[in-house]
């Protein structure tokens, strides 16, 4: 399988002379959910901004569907890679939810029925079709975030990047995001950036761990959460269930779900 996104030896320095990525090598496969984790300032956002061409590598190269991002504009790449910003206030700029969601597809040349149906689908998917006439900036954080997601979903990109989709959300918001990711994964390659390890353990096929502008681990979530030293380094903790498993003598250290935990506990108690 050829990777849909491939980064080779990517180094990136901001104009303000901050080096936010150092020698990143990464391959993301089609139809997988990849979670990028790591402490604040480790370079996660900078990395994914390379995938839709908002940033271009200072050294090295990023290939999206085999094409070098330096040869394409962000607008052209937006057909393939949709990026949902970390801060919804940085992304929302129209005065109606409907217009906000329609902005992307219009730029891609969607017209008439196709346009309407893509906007409607996207808004229904995030459960905000009823709010389509509201002003995006008047909504609460949960809903703002969902509008930004809908505005990308409506563009039907192959890859959808969600930058901290559960950041600042209440429980209900987190549940919504989780079910949304599960819907999205059927048709898209999904990349999430998250500090919510519960969410990562539930949805991710693969985990990329970042620390100090570098990728320090990539592999399955099961494996990732057993890497205590690496996790500590970047101030992360495995999900509670995994920690529980790791605390009980005789149990494997890579328990991820409640079901697994129950099974393992039964084994131990026998």
């Amino acid at each position: 399988m050829t990777p849909i996104i491939k980064a080779s030896k990517v180094t990136f320095t901001y104009p303000a002379k901050v080096t936010a990525l150092r020698d990143i090598n990464l391959e993301l496969n089609e139809d997988e959910v990849t979670a990028i984790i790591g402490q604040n300032g480790s370079g996660k956002t900078t990395l994914v901004k390379h995938f839709n061409g908002l940033l271009k590598p200072t050294k090295g190269e990023v290939l999206v569907e085999g094409k070098d991002t330096r040869d394409l504009t962000t607008a052209q790449l937006s057909k393939i890679v949709g990026y949902v910003f970390q801060d919804p206030d940085d992304q929302l700029f129209m005065s109606k939810v409907y217009e906000e969601v329609a902005f992307g597809p219009k730029n891609l040349g969607f017209k008439g029925k196709e346009l309407k149906s893509s906007v409607k689908n996207a808004l229904k998917m995030v459960g905000l079709w009823e709010s389509r006439k509201k002003h995006p900036l008047d909504m609460n954080l949960n809903d703002k975030k969902l509008v930004t997601m809908a505005s990308i979903i409506a563009m039907k990109p192959d890859v959808i990047i969600l930058d901290e989709p559960t950041n600042g959300q209440d429980h209900q918001g987190i549940v919504k995001v989780e079910s949304l990711i599960n819907k999205l994964r059927k048709e898209h390659t999904v990349i999430i950036i998250s500090h919510n390890m519960e969410l990562v353990s539930k949805v991710a096929d693969r985990v990329v761990m970042m620390y100090d502008s570098r990728v320090i681990f990539e592999g399955s979530p099961k494996k990732a959460f057993t890497k205590k030293k690496l996790l500590n380094k970047t101030y992360l903790k495995p999900p509670l269930i995994t920690q529980l498993g790791q605390g009980v003598k005789g149990m494997p250290s890579d328990v991820l779900t409640i079901n697994e935990l129950v099974k393992e506990l039964q084994k131990v108690s026998k």
Partner: protein
């Protein structure tokens, strides 16, 4: 263009930086006033080069002179128009076909204005580059400017950098949603139009939020206010302010007497 417009305070350790904002302001105002009063461009050029030791001491030589390259376009127009069409032309310098000519008076006039512009720019730059807006406002308040006016002044000074960074954020958002903002001038102009709405809305919202934050921190409390930035007017400041004014007068008079 941006660099020339968006020049702002650069922190450096130097004697010049430490001077009182008013001292630096007096120096700049003296030089700029002089540039209008001096007899001819030679004196302005001397004044222009006179900034070098100051800029050098402030460690900002490059920053002071580099933005001048944007003046180049203005100079081209200035010389182009004045040397052909200066109204008080008398002496032909070069005769061209079709009755056109380059006139000596026009050329001299253009040189005059250019030299004056150079002086205004570098002294203005040096002031802005070495003066923290906070220090300036603090000092002006010390000298009796009302509290609220100080706030208005400082927010205005911050306006340009804020608007530019907001513009960049919105452009990023629009590019990520398939709007082509790179390429021909027309394409770019088109891209900037949908920007105006959100930018304006954002500013209004910002202002409302700011007002609340200010109220929450007792901005309008009626009492004497202390300052975080304490600016002193030292002996050196007195000396430099006085000599700026006196030397300027002497230089101006000398230029007309010689």
């Amino acid at each position: 263009m941006p660099e020339a417009v968006l020049i702002s305070y650069v922190k450096k350790k130097s004697f010049f930086h430490k001077l009182n904002p008013l001292t630096k302001l007096v120096l700049a105002v003296c030089a700029i006033t002089l540039s209008f009063l001096l007899k001819n461009f030679m004196y302005n050029l001397i004044l222009f080069f006179f900034i070098i030791p100051f800029a050098y001491e402030a460690k900002l030589l490059r920053q002071v002179f580099k933005p001048l390259r944007y003046l180049f376009i203005i100079f081209v127009f200035l010389f182009g128009i004045q040397s052909f069409f200066y109204p008080f032309r008398e002496t032909v310098l070069v005769q061209l076909p079709f009755g056109f000519a380059i006139w000596l008076e026009g050329l001299l006039y253009a040189v005059d204005i250019s030299a004056r512009l150079l002086v205004i720019m570098v002294y203005g730059y040096l002031f802005v580059l070495t003066t923290h807006p906070g220090d300036l406002v603090s000092e002006l308040k010390e000298r009796g400017m009302p509290h609220w006016l100080g706030y208005v002044l400082i927010t205005t000074l911050q306006l340009i950098p804020r608007v530019t960074s907001q513009t960049e954020v919105i452009i990023e958002a629009q590019r990520s949603r398939g709007l082509e903002t790179q390429g021909s001038v027309i394409k770019r102009l088109k891209a900037y139009t949908p920007l105006l709405g959100p930018l304006f809305m954002g500013s209004v919202q910002n202002a409302v939020e700011r007002a609340m934050a200010l109220e929450a921190r007792a901005f309008r409390a009626e009492c004497d206010k202390t300052r975080y930035r304490d600016v002193k007017f030292t002996k050196q400041d007195k000396l430099i302010t006085a000599s700026s004014i006196i030397l300027s007068i002497i230089y101006g008079v000398v230029s007309w007497l010689l």
